[in-house]
Amino acid sequence: MTGAAALAVLAAMGITLIRALRGPTLYDRVLAVNSFGTLTVLLIALHGFLTERPEFLDIALLYALINFIGTVAVLKFFEYGDLGATGSTED
């Protein structure tokens, strides 16, 4: 069962990659990368259960925690064209 789910995740990864390659806007690419990250977390978790070595879950946990940071950086890049803008002076 985990095997079938892992194959489904792989197929979804392949399809998501199409969107990342095609664009057309930058936002579409970021969206695709974001989903790709989710799918990778699931693949790693499923693979851990497939091979019965659940310590791989640490990697999935790491991705769940810090995949977000890349997206935040991209957003900041979109809005300010620079990662260093303070932008929080108004509160």
Binding site: L61, F68, A73, L83
Partner: protein, 177 residues
């Protein structure tokens, strides 16, 4: 990112867990995957998240650049210091067995300290890289924003014109921010 309230709340919730996870990776590296390098990168990434969401100025107040510079050197110093300590105690350089009465305990202590040194340096260098690349505020940033805004507005207007008329722009979507 003053208008991204949701983002700020999420980052605030997530940040302690990222830092805690970095410490887990640092000190649990003996038993599971991980170690000083990974922990340093994760800890640095946590600080960078703070800097991205709340502004580099706030991050500089929490983690001053001077401290970062000192920490980067301190990590290497700690690593070398462990080696020199074992040298002074009469063993080879970086031979931790001598650090405690029991060689295994000495090895364990040595590995712990050395990994701490690695973690310290890597954390500091990651933050330092971010400060160096993204830290310049003022004129340069304003210019970058102006460039982007100009390009985007022109493209958006072109897109609207392509569809034949700007009336469909409808409500002022951009004013929600």
């Amino acid at each position: 990112m003053q208008h991204h309230t949701v983002l700020k709340v999420a980052a605030k919730l997530l940040l302690p867990f990222i830092l805690l996870f970095a410490l887990y990776v640092q000190f649990h590296g003996d038993f599971g995957p991980g170690g000083g390098f990974q922990a340093g990168v994760i800890f640095g990434a946590g600080i960078i998240l703070y800097a991205l969401v709340f502004g580099t100025g706030h991050a500089r107040a929490v983690v001053p650049p001077g401290a970062v510079r000192a920490a980067a050197a301190l990590g290497v110093l700690l690593y070398t210091g462990v080696g020199v300590a074992s040298l002074l105690l009469g063993a080879n350089f970086l031979d931790y067995g001598i650090l405690a009465a029991d060689p295994v305990a000495g090895q364990h202590l040595g590995i712990l300290l050395v990994e701490l040194g690695v973690g310290l340096t890597v954390t500091a260098v990651m933050i330092l890289l971010f400060y160096a690349f993204a830290g310049v505020e003022g004129a340069e940033t304003d210019r970058a924003v102006a460039n982007r805004d100009g390009a985007e507005r022109a493209a958006a207007e072109r897109a609207v014109a392509d569809r034949g008329g700007a009336s469909r722009a409808g409500p002022d979507w951009t004013s929600t921010s």
